[in-house]
Subunit: 140 residues, 2 copies
DNA sequence: TAAAAATTTGTTATATTATAACATTATACT
DNA sequence: AGTATAATGTTATAATATAACAAATTTTTA
């Protein structure tokens, strides 16, 4: 167990654990209803844990979905350096790990020369599996 | 007047007009309260107009803020091909028009080779004007 | 180790953002 | 003109998120 997960509080661990169990992003109130048996009773307890987990980079917020997903990139210890692909059809979200793209984004400055602390990039499309299903359906 | 703005309905025009008057992004309920004198009474009327305006590319949704901003790029007639810079301090949002970056994003495919229909990229940082203010403050 | 500081917790209430559902009216199409 | 499509108006409610405050816990540091 590394420093960061050791330093997590009880509620933070419960929430992180639930998010990590799901491969799809989860919603705050879905987290709440799923962890009530563990003693978390109210929205603020969930949102506080989420805020902290985002801050330390253990999870990310999928902005276009109001949902939360575990970080899949081991060295991703900061918020707001995120790239996702999102399927329009099944809404599955994958975190993209593409060093060349990362470098492009990190080095980007606007026309004033402003440097940015972070970014969030969401790609939208149809994932492979949904594309296949669509092809299946047109066969009939 | 081009085809698209001609084809806008009464409510769509009212909502678009209000958004275009503001250089900062505006929130749905702020739109509502500001257009009530024009006969728009309830949230669904605003949200419907917003949905349509987004679909035709006249406005964009700033995902991390739940806010809406007029498109500043004349040929931007589709949703989900957006790049913004957002100031962490004053929350002002600028739409970035950088052909090289656009090409990079348009041509991106993931490791499965999947092509994407669209993207939304938000850069976070401190804008020039806020940076200057901070420097002013440290002088004292 | 005791006091101070910082963080986390538990709780109630409420603010903010967004949509469902349904009847009606207006507009565009052929 | 008749049909299809889009937009409107309305009420109610769902979904997402935070404010505020008292108490307990953990960490720091003197």
């Amino acid at each position: 167990m590394d420093k960061k997960s050791k330093s997590l509080s009880k509620n933070q661990k419960i929430v992180l654990d639930f998010i990590q169990k799901n491969k799809k992003p989860v919603k705050a109130y879905s987290i709440l209803s799923n962890v009530q048996k563990k003693g978390i009773n109210a929205p603020p307890q969930v949102y506080r844990a989420l805020d902290k987990l985002i801050k330390i980079g253990k999870i990310h917020r999928v902005e276009s979905q109001n949902s939360f997903v575990a970080c899949k990139i081991s060295n991703c210890d900061t918020p707001h350096k995120t790239v996702f692909s999102i399927c329009n059809s099944c809404e599955i979200v994958s975190e993209i790990n593409d060093p060349k793209l990362f470098k492009n984004l990190k080095d980007f400055r606007d026309k004033d020369g402003t440097v940015f602390d972070g970014y969030n990039l969401e790609f939208f499309g149809t994932c492979k599996s949904c594309k296949n299903k669509q092809i299946e359906n047109t066969k009939h």
